[in-house]
Structure formats: structure tokens, C-alpha cells
């Protein structure tokens, strides 16, 4: 096994040599920086391969031939190897991303970047308490040095604050380390772990000091202004490193130190993390500057990971997989978003609207936003499912609530941003764009890694993995065939629906059969209508296939997890369908918020149902446990939240609902069929608005189609289906929703479908 000391030697050695390089060697220095990052990455890959194949054993490496406590000990196991790989790959792509800036501004900063990545690696490997302090300081100094890369006063002020704060934190950590030595006579972490049972009060205080120092280093709410400024003012390439690599190293360091702490200290950390997640996301709601918004989101996500690490005594063994799922998603998505932000000139959320004309970047942006919002198939989705069910199992309802509410806040600002980028009318005209192919490499690789991470996360689920992915194949197929004309794609999808119905419907029984027939018939009707559309309808067919796929998966789901997975797939599909409509931004956002809020309630309900029955199948919903009514209320609210979201969208947008009959009564004619109006009619429709002619070229807007979002032909099918979905699920659970629902939502009672919703049947 290659010794981790090679990373130390190569980092310090090359860092020192590059510091001496002159201006003429700038290009060569840059190449060397990239080469050394590749070297680090290769070492990490070599370890992972060795551990995976069983040829290496996790082991300690001691410096200078002495045993601890007289030497420094570096420990490398599978966890260390994976985390160092993450940091080194980020280091490589950061070097690539910053290449031109490094060449232009200051060539010796390449050396500082190497020292920073080396320092972060060492924080992961080292088992010596004092050595940790040394590398904490090395990373703080080198990071502050890198912030000098951007020659602007805001970055300098932010860098100074960062340096001051992190030095003070390190000083408190040092005090803890020295007290630990005073109390135990050793600085070797493993020595302290052995003596954990009979630590002196002095050592306990020391551990508390060290843990709190590292928790503050992770920027908990509200002690995080110093780090937010770095996210906002420093070069986005640096933001990516702080958000991704530094957080990764610090979280792992905390994991090592918390091994010494008591259960109470762990739970305190968990509470700090959960509060940070909740309040950072709350603060994120008010942000208008993309990088500061990303800063709040970063702090929130790290808070969530912190919370999971603190919950180690509660969650038991799977805790590290959950923490890793959250961390990996945050690491990949946030680095990607910071990198994208470096390509966009403009400091407002609206300046990102320029991505509309860059399909690849828009897909990357969407991938990162959906991953951060914990949608399938990203690792965060699986981690959140496991976390919430784990918390419900162990009765930590308060933490569960905080994390669910924090997730909702996060989704609100992320999707508001996504809506602005894809649909806002307020595109910033002056916003420029600056992209080098080398800058695109990192986001592309990281987005791919997010999908790969999701695929591997599925293996670690504690719930049985019985998801049928076949319904999602048409989504991929139609996405690849999106260049074909609409009628052809329509026919293809119709055929796929037909084939699926032919083979699978006969196997269904009972309610599965009823709802299978309803969904399939609805799909066929929708697609028949699709023949009236001309052109290519870009993007429509993969999305509608995604929605159908989600519905089929709902019918087929036999486990709580499978159902929740399908629910989220359907939500994503219908969200995009609504977003495709004109002027749909606020409606799509409300739809997403209420759907996601509903999904969180369903998640909570499922988690509680599993907690009281111990079952992972949908049978868990049939229970006579005292909290069954609560579960029922949560699920009902969750299911119908989604349906209400359509109506509430209009309330949120501040527009009165105008029913079709009212339109007729007002003499507007049917606004939704106004294509049939005569050319000389005083009223006419353009887009989603009704106008009155005032002159040859003049018109007054009389009314806007209040249901524009879900009345758009493309988005018109979401609501009604989901009403049925809710009913279906209640039926499966052996309850009678219609009776209950008719009181709450009379318009949903039988016979009332279609009054506001375009239910296709």
C-alpha cells in the first residue's frame, strides 16, 4: 500500500518548489499543479481498489519509524480512502477550473492550492490531536491565501474575517488538545479511545472543547457570518472548495473526535446540526444573491450531515451511510453550482436566466437543484428516507419535524430559483456569460457522479428494494428520441403504453386493476389528443412518460419506499409539465411546494407507520395502533395537498378563480375554447390572456386564464390523476377516503371531478 506520507511529501515539496518558480515558468507550474492533483487522486484510487479487492487492510502508518505517541500516526481505511478521493478529485477539477485565473493573477497560488488539498487529506488521515491542529491551521492559512486570488475589496474583507475566525477556532481546539494531553498523557487518538471509560474530568472538558471547536468550524447557525462572506465574495472556484472539500474533511474530523464524546455530547451536536439546517434554510428564503444563497444552502446541508453524525448513538450502524449520502450529494451538487456561478456574470438570481440558451448547462443546473432537494434517484433521496424512518423508529419526532420543515424551506428557495431561471419574464439583459470547455469538465463529471451515487445508494437501503424501473425506460428512450416529430413520438409512447397494458394489466387484481385501467385509459386519451399538436413538442414526451411511469409505479408499489419513490417521480414529471406552460413560473412553484410539502407529510406518515408496525410493505398502513389516526391525517393531508396545490397556485398568485360558467356568464365566451372566436370578434385570446380589441393595433387585457398552468395542454393531466392516486392509496390502506374527503374537499367527491380540473376522463 502506498503510504499516505507521499501525499504529504509531494504536497509540501512541490508547494515549496512552485513558490520559487518565476513568471516564465507559469505554464509549467500550472501543469505541475494538475499533475500533482492527479497523483493524489491516483493514490486514493489505488487504496480504494486495494481495499475493495481485499489486498489491503486498513492500517496505521507511523512517521520516522517510532510508535505513537512518539510519532505521528496516519490511518488509512476504506472511509478515509473514499473521502480523500472526493477531496483530490475536487482539487483536480478546481485546479483545472482556476487554471486561467491562476495564470493571470498569481502563479504561486497554484502552490497554495496544492498545500490546501494536502492539508485536507491529512486532516482525514491523522490520528494525532496536535497534528490535527497543525493541519487545521495549514488549511486555514492556505485557504485565506487562495481568497487573495480575486483582487476585490469584498473578497479581502471576507478572507480576513475567515482567517481571524478560523485561527481563533483552531486556538480553542489547541487548548482542548493540550488539556487532553494534560489529562491523559497522550495525544494519540487511539490511546484516548482505549481509555474512554475512565477519562478524568479534565479530559472530558478537553474533548468538549475540541468537539465544539470543530462544530463551530463547520459554521453552525448563527455563528457563520464569517464563512458566508467567503461564499459570497470569493472566487466561485474557492467557494466550491470551501463548500465541498473543507466541509468533507471537517465532518470526518468531527466523526473521529465524537468517538471520544459521550452520548449527550453527540445529541447536542445533532441538535446544533438540525437547528442549523432549519434556520440556514429559513435564511436562504430571503436571499437574492446566488452565491450567498448557495452559502446558506451549504451551511444547511452541512448542518444536516452534522446532525446525522451526532445521531450516531441513536441511529446505530447505518448512520455513516446516511451522513455519506447527504454529504456526497451536497459535495457534488454544491461544487457544481459554484462552478456554474463562476461562468455567469451577474450577481442576481435573474442573471442565471442566460442558462435557458445553454441546454447542457441547464440540464446540469436542474440536476444539481433536484439532487439538493432530495429527489430520486439521487443519494440524498435515499439518505433522507432512511433518516426520517430511523428517527421515527427511535422516537425523535422533534428532530424529524425540524429536518422535514428545513427540507421544505430549502425546496422553496431552490425551486423559486429554478423557476426564475427557466421561466421568469425578468431576464437580465446585461448578464454576460463566460465559459471555457475546461470549466465545464467539473460540473459534467460531478453531475454524472450524482446519478452513479444514487444507483449505489439504492443498495444500502434497509427497506426492501422492490422498485420496478421498467416504467422509466420510456423516459430515457423518448429523451434520446426528442428530435423526432411529435406525431411519431406520440405513436411510440402510445405503443409503449399499449405494450405495458397488454403484458401487465392482466396480472393486476382488485384496486390495482381498477386504477391500472384508469391510468392506462387516461394515458391513451391524452396521447390521442396529442395528435392534434404540430411540430416537435420538445421535452413533452419524456416528461409525460415520466408522469405515466410514476403512476404505473404507484400502482405496482408494494412497499412504503416503492410508493414514495413513485410519488416523487410523478411529482417531478408533472412539475416539469406544468413548467412547460406559458407564464407558468408561479404556478409551477406553488405546485412544487405543495406537492413537496405533501410528500414530506407522506414520508412522515410512512415513517410513523413503519415505526409502529415494523413492516416495510404497504400493509404497515393497516394498523390499529393509537397513533393510526395521526398517520391517517398526515397521509390524507399529504395526498390532498397535491391536489389542492393546483387551486392554491392561483390563490398564491393573487388571482381570483374564474370558473368556466362564470366566463360564459360574463360574456367572455369560453376562454379555453376561444380559438374558435371569429377574427372580427371584439374579444380574442392570445397566449393565456383574454383581450378586447380597442383599435387595429391596440388591445386591453381583460382577463388572464387563471388556470393557465394546469390548463396548458401539456400540463392539463397532472391534477386529476393525482386525486385518484390519493384515493387509491387510501383504499389500499383499507380506509374510505371519499366519505372523509367529501367533507373537506367537496369538489373532490364523486361526480365533481373536472369542475376545476381537466380530468381527462
Amino acid at each position: 500500500m502506498v503510504s499516505p506520507f507521499y501525499i504529504l511529501i509531494a504536497g509540501l515539496g512541490l508547494g515549496f518548489i512552485l513558490g520559487l518558480a518565476g513568471k516564465k515558468q507559469a505554464a509549467l507550474s500550472n501543469l505541475l499543479v494538475l499533475a500533482v492533483m492527479l497523483f493524489f487522486t491516483a493514490i486514493s484510487l489505488h487504496w480504494i481498489h486495494g481495499f475493495y479487492s481485499g489486498s489491503f487492510q486498513a492500517s496505521n502508518v507511523y512517521s520516522a519509524g517510532f510508535d505513537p505517541p512518539y510519532s505521528i500516526s496516519l490511518f488509512v481505511g476504506m472511509h478515509e480512502a473514499i473521502l480523500s478521493l472526493m477531496i483530490n478529485i475536487l482539487g483536480f477539477f478546481s485546479a483545472l477550473y482556476l487554471r486561467k485565473s491562476l495564470l493571470r493573477e498569481a502563479r504561486s497560488l497554484g502552490a497554495v492550492l496544492i498545500v490546501l488539498i494536502m492539508g485536507l487529506n491529512m486532516i482525514i488521515f491523522t490520528r494525532d490531536l496536535f497534528n490535527i491542529f497543525v493541519f487545521l491551521e495549514i488549511t486555514a492559512i492556505s485557504l485565506s491565501g487562495l481568497i487573495l486570488l480575486d483582487d476585490n475589496q469584498r473578497a479581502f474583507a471576507a478572507g480576513f474575517k475567515y482567517l481571524l475566525a478560523s485561527s481563533l477556532i483552531s486556538a480553542f481546539y489547541l487548548m482542548g488538545a493540550v488539556l487532553a494531553y494534560y489529562g491523559t498523557g497522550s495525544l494519540y487518538l487511539d490511546d484516548l479511545l482505549v481509555r474512554q471509560a475512565d477519562l478524568s474530568p479534565m479530559a472530558v472538558i478537553a474533548i468538549f472543547l475540541m468537539v465544539i471547536a470543530i462544530v463551530i468550524e463547520l459554521k453552525p447557525f448563527p455563528a457563520n457570518g464569517w464563512a458566508l462572506d467567503v461564499y459570497q465574495a470569493a472566487h466561485p472556484g474557492i467557494g466550491a472548495i470551501v463548500s465541498g472539500a473543507v466541509a468533507t474533511a471537517m465532518l470526518f474530523l468531527l466523526t473521529k473526535l465524537l468517538g471520544l464524546g459521550s452520548e449527550r455530547l453527540c445529541l447536542l451536536t445533532a441538535m446544533v446540526g438540525a437547528f442549523t439546517f432549519l434556520f440556514s434554510n429559513w435564511m436562504g428564503l430571503q436571499q437574492k444573491e446566488p452565491n450567498r444563497l448557495l452559502g446558506y444552502s451549504s451551511i444547511g446541508q452541512v448542518g444536516l450531515a452534522l446532525s446525522i453524525i451526532g445521531l450516531k448513538p441513536v441511529l446505530g450502524d447505518p448512520w455513516y451511510l446516511l451522513a455519506f449520502g447527504v454529504l456526497l450529494t451536497h459535495f457534488l451538487a454544491k461544487a457544481g453550482l459554484f462552478w456554474l456561478s463562476g461562468m455567469i456574470q451577474g450577481k442576481s438570481l435573474e442573471s442565471w436566466t442566460i442558462l435557458r440558451n445553454k441546454p447542457i448547462l441547464l440540464v446540469l443546473f436542474g440536476t444539481f437543484i433536484f439532487a439538493l432537494s432530495a429527489f430520486p434517484p439521487f443519494p440524498s433521496f435515499f439518505a433522507k428516507w432512511e433518516l426520517i424512518t430511523g428517527l421515527a423508529d427511535t422516537g425523535h419526532y422533534f428532530l424529524m419535524g425540524m429536518i422535514l420543515v428545513g427540507s421544505l424551506f430549502e425546496v422553496i428557495y431552490l425551486f423559486r430559483w429554478f423557476g426564475i431561471v427557466t421561466k421568469s419574464d425578468q431576464a437580465e439583459e446585461s448578464a454576460g456569460f463566460n465559459m471555457d470547455p475546461e470549466k465545464l469538465a467539473g460540473p459534467l463529471v460531478f453531475a454524472t457522479a450524482l446519478f452513479a451515487g444514487g444507483y449505489f445508494s439504492l443498495r444500502f437501503l434497509s427497506a426492501p428494494d422492490l422498485i420496478n424501473f421498467i416504467p422509466l425506460i420510456p423516459v430515457v428512450a423518448l429523451w434520446m428520441l426528442d428530435f423526432l416529430p411529435a406525431w411519431l413520438k406520440n405513436t411510440l409512447l402510445l405503443m409503449m403504453v399499449g405494450i405495458y397494458s397488454w403484458f401487465y394489466l392482466p396480472g393486476y387484481t382488485d384496486y390495482q386493476l381498477i386504477f391500472g385501467i384508469i391510468f392506462m385509459a387516461g394515458a391513451v386519451l391524452t396521447l390521442i389528443y396529442g395528435y392534434s399538436e404540430k411540430g416537435k413538442r420538445p421535452g413533452f414526451y419524456p416528461l409525460v412518460a415520466m408522469m405515466f411511469g410514476g403512476l404505473i409505479m404507484l400502482v405496482e408499489a408494494t412497499t412504503l419506499f416503492g410508493f414514495f419513490f413513485a410519488w416523487e417521480v410523478m411529482t417531478a414529471g408533472s412539475y416539469f409539465l406544468i413548467l412547460r406552460g406559458k407564464k407558468s413560473q408561479p404556478h409551477a412553484l406553488s405546485y412544487m411546494l405543495f406537492s413537496f410539502g405533501g410528500a414530506l407529510l407522506i414520508l412522515a406518515g410512512f415513517a410513523l407507520a413503519h415505526a409502529v408496525t415494523g413492516l416495510w410493505t404497504l400493509d404497515a398502513l393497516v394498523t390499529d395502533h393509537p397513533i393510526a389516526p395521526l398517520i391517517f391525517v398526515m397521509l390524507t393531508l399529504g395526498f390532498f395537498n397535491k391536489n389542492s396545490s393546483h387551486r392554491t397556485a392561483h390563490l398564491v398568485a393573487g388571482r381570483p378563480q374564474r370558473s368556466r360558467s362564470r366566463c360564459f356568464a360574463d360574456g367572455f365566451g369560453d376562454p379555453f375554447k376561444s380559438r374558435g372566436l371569429r377574427p372580427d370578434h371584439p374579444l380574442f385570446k392570445d397566449g393565456n390572456s383574454i383581450y378586447r380589441r380597442c383599435g387595429p393595433d391596440d388591445r386591453t387585457e381583460l382577463d388572464r386564464d387563471p388556470l393557465s398552468a394546469d390548463r396548458e395542454p401539456d400540463g392539463s393531466h397532472a391534477g386529476g390523476y393525482e386525486a385518484f392516486t390519493g384515493l387509491f392509496q387510501c383504499r389500499t390502506a383499507g380506509i374510505h377516503p371519499v366519505r372523509v374527503v367529501a367533507d373537506v374537499e367537496p369538489w373532490l367527491a364523486p361526480g365533481h371531478f373536472g369542475s376545476h380540473h381537466a380530468f381527462p376522463l
Partner: protein
């Protein structure tokens, strides 16, 4: 309880740390903030040395009084805290130097060392 040199140093170290913290939080001049940080750091270093001190012993240097194999363990004080302090002093030097670079850069941009003049981002 007798007053010994290590206790004096311990109290002095703590006082210096508090002075440094107070200065760091109350001053608005960048140089004074940096100076306060240095005072805090010095106080911490004194505290560490004082914690490692053992009454009646000498420096852990092998010479006429301390002979390694013989009486190192009984005559010399613990060398580890002193080694730590040496490293901490070097690191403190690096941090202070970088802070001064920042103060210089900020001063070049706005000709001011007062943090109230750098409120573009919240302090």
C-alpha cells in the same frame, strides 16, 4: 496553597487570552485586531507551557544535570508541551503575517484600516 511560578504563568496566560479576546471583539482598527489576536495567541502559549511545568525540575535538555538513561524521567519537565508551543508559535507567526497582508491589501484599496469602512458584507 503556595504561589509557584507555574501557577503565576497559568493565571497570566489566561489573563492575556482574555485581554486578546476583549481587544479582538471591541477594537475596530485592523492592526489592533491583529495585535489582539497575537496577545491571545501568546497567552495560550504561556498557558500550554505552564500546564506542562513540573515544580523542581529543569529543562529537558541532556547536559550535566540531566542524563538521558539515568534521570530524564525524574529531573526534566515534560518536553511535549514545549515542542507543541514551538510549533504553535511558528504557526501563529504565519497567521499573523497573513493577517497583516490582508490589512495591507484592504488599506491599499480604501486607504483605511477601520473595519467600519468595510461594511459591504456584514461584519
Amino acid at each position: 496553597m503556595s504561589i509557584t511560578i507555574d501557577k503565576v504563568a497559568l493565571v497570566l496566560g489566561m489573563i492575556l487570552m482574555l485581554v486578546g479576546l476583549w481587544g479582538g471583539f471591541t477594537r475596530t482598527n485592523l492592526l489592533k485586531i491583529i495585535l489582539s489576536f497575537s496577545i491571545f495567541d501568546t497567552g495560550l502559549n504561556i498557558l500550554i507551557v505552564a500546564l506542562g511545568y513540573l515544580p523542581g525540575r529543569t529543562a529537558p535538555i541532556i547536559d550535566g544535570v540531566v542524563v538521558a538513561a539515568d534521570n530524564l524521567a525524574t529531573r526534566a519537565i515534560d518536553p511535549v508541551p514545549q515542542a507543541l508551543v514551538l510549533t504553535a508559535i511558528v504557526i501563529g507567526f504565519g497567521v499573523t503575517a497573513l493577517m497583516l497582508v490582508y490589512a495591507m491589501k484592504l488599506n491599499q484599496h480604501r486607504k483605511s484600516l477601520d473595519i467600519n469602512h468595510y461594511t459591504d458584507l456584514k461584519w
